[in-house]
């Protein structure tokens, strides 16, 4: 699918086709997309555990749930739990056999261009001690999230839409998930990605409104808004990045129909 259409199609879906399994190859495609994401000094900060709803008991699924949309865990056929590996840097440095930055392989293979200063000496005297292993290899793992891990997660999410699936990000209970999934203590939770075929329309009520564009984007400094050119908006509408915004006239009828189909409590 065209890139901009993929971005435009993304929504926070709720109603997944509970009866339709997701092909394993599509999940692998999502994970392969995550692996291709940008990452500082080629370090894999992300980790993920793929779970299948039907292989988990209700009790196990309940352990994932928080106050935020708990029911969706029972709808989506696949839940992928994304983590930030807080020991990724040190582990990466220690695995010098890997063809990455710490081993010098990227410099030797002229990917990290020597003419921009990426020499063996620069690696050993600057990159390793200052960026990859600040504070030494015995420094405690640093929690606080990681934007590179989130980037990988998001590439997987977008790839789901390219594969004809819907995917939604929700928080999950850290302790409950650790019990069920057995992940290491040094993995810090990011979000759960719920994946499946949508039971609702691809519009899913329309694109959600947000802050005005000019309150989010600035030119030069925060003093000057980045003014939105309507011609660019029109191009992106034709490329389906920008789609019809909520409310969509027939959405209430769709929700009533979906609620009947899934025998959910009646809407307001």
């Amino acid at each position: 699918m065209e890139f901009k259409r993929v971005l435009g199609r993304r929504r926070s879906f709720h109603y997944f086709a509970t009866w339709r399994p997701v092909e394993r190859e599509k999940i692998q495609a999502m994970l392969e997309a995550a692996r291709r994401a940008s990452r500082a000094v080629n370090t894999p900060f992300f980790k993920a555990v793929v779970t299948y709803r039907d292989r988990l008991s209700q009790e196990e699924r309940n352990q994932f749930k928080t106050a935020w949309e708990p029911t969706v865990f029972d709808f989506a056929p696949v839940s992928i739990f994304w983590y930030h590996d807080t020991e990724a840097r040190v582990a990466y440095v220690d695995r010098l056999k890997r063809p990455g930055v710490p081993s010098g392989a990227l410099q030797d293979n002229a990917v990290m261009a020597p003419l921009l200063g990426w020499s063996r000496r620069f690696l050993s005297e600057v990159i390793l001690p200052e960026l990859l292993a600040p504070g030494g290899r015995s420094a405690p793992p640093a929690r606080g999230g990681n934007s590179d891990a989130a980037m990988a997660m998001e590439q997987a999410l977008l790839c789901a839409y390219d594969e004809g699936l819907a995917a939604t990000l929700v928080p999950f209970d850290e302790d409950g998930a650790r019990t069920v999934l057995g992940v290491p203590e040094v993995w810090e939770p990011l979000l759960a990605m719920l994946v499946g075929y949508p039971a609702e329309s691809w519009e899913a009520g329309g694109q959600a409104p947000g802050l005005p564009f000019e309150d989010v984007f600035f030119a030069g400094s925060m003093d000057t808004a980045f003014e939105r050119d309507p011609q660019v908006v029109a191009r992106l509408q034709s490329e389906e990045l920008i789609q019809e915004q909520a409310p969509i006239a027939w959405r209430k009828h769709e929700i009533r129909g979906l609620d009947r189909m899934f025998r959910l409590p009646a809407s307001r």
Binding site: E32, P44, W68, A110, L181, S221, L241, D259
Partner: protein, 303 residues
């Protein structure tokens, strides 16, 4: 461009055509892609400032250079700096945006979304917990490398150079808020990076002193400055840029069912993704050194 091809062509591009400006409409298209990124917990956290290299003074340009990025800074015509508005969760405490989404039928009542649920559960149990997380982490602790850069700048000031003032950042933040901020920024950066390549551009995330960026962009104290900067421009070299970077074995990153059980990579799927150009030739490429030599000549870089 097809989505998978965009993912496949993305590299950390470090050689930009310094003489070729980036059309404003392409910058806007990238921002529009960021605007469409998922919002974690429906919070509007991410902010971006677009900086044009040629609009900076020599002193400002010097202030953002470091040993890691100096050449790229000079080559890239546009920088996009990402920030996280740390007051986003506080502003959401009235539940107003969630109630708007409920009224628009985007958060269905049959999944528990009601105004009452927002007031009674989501605000106190989700938003308030983020803000009052007693587990706090130190922020604004810059790597020594960047401190050195600032010390160098200050040393130069003694010789009559202008120095960008260094302001102290908040010492600590609630852990949950920092996780939220970094996650939101990473999601936005994924949209921005991929969109740049879809627009025919190259891009690269690099670290620039957050203190300097804060000063340059004149942002308020409550915007978190830890995110990397996206350098943007047209490729000076090939789109292959030396080939896709090697990765660790797939089975080290992904697990199936439970940690300890690797998600085994199916070579048939890899074959499909190669045909779709998401997986491309990996470094090293035989002709890369020749390309680097030619780029050095063209761009006046030392060999």
């Amino acid at each position: 461009m097809e989505f998978k091809e965009v993912v496949g062509w993305r590299r950390s591009i470090r050689f930009f055509a310094p003489w070729r400006p980036v059309e404003r409409e392409k910058v806007q298209a990238i921002l529009e892609a960021v605007y469409r990124a998922p919002k974690v917990l429906e919070l509007d956290i991410v902010r971006c400032v677009v900086i044009y290299r040629d609009a900076l003074t020599a002193e400002q340009l010097e202030s953002i250079r470091s040993p890691i990025n100096s050449a790229q800074i000079d080559m890239a015509p546009v920088y996009i700096q990402f920030f996280a508005d740390l007051q986003a969760a506080e502003r959401a405490m009235d539940g107003g945006h969630l109630k708007e989404l409920i009224d628009l039928d985007l958060l269905p009542a049959s999944f528990g979304w009601t105004h009452d649920y927002v007031d009674r559960v989501i605000v106190p149990q989700v938003y308030k917990r983020i803000l009052t997380d007693s587990n706090r982490v130190v922020v604004g602790r810059r790597p020594p490398l960047l401190q050195e850069v600032e010390e160098q700048a200050q040393a130069r000031a003694g010789g009559g150079r202008t120095v960008v003032a260094v302001e102290a950042e908040p010492a600590t933040l609630p852990l949950s808020l920092l996780v939220l901020a970094n996650t939101a920024v990473g999601i936005a950066q994924a949209h921005a990076l991929l969109s740049a390549f879809d627009e025919g551009l190259g891009a690269h995330l690099c670290g620039i002193s957050p203190v300097v960026m804060k000063q340059l962009c004149r942002i308020p104290d409550y915007w978190h400055t830890g995110a990397s900067t996206m350098l943007l421009g047209y490729h000076a070299g090939s789109w292959e840029d030396g080939g896709q970077r090697p990765r660790e074995p797939f089975e080290e990153d992904f697990f199936e069912g439970r940690y300890g059980t690797p998600f085994v990579q199916d070579p048939g799927v890899v074959g499909r993704l190669k045909a779709e150009r998401m997986i491309q030739d990996e470094a090293p490429l035989a002709w890369r050194r020749g390309e680097l030599s030619a780029l050095a000549d063209m761009l006046g870089l030392p060999k």
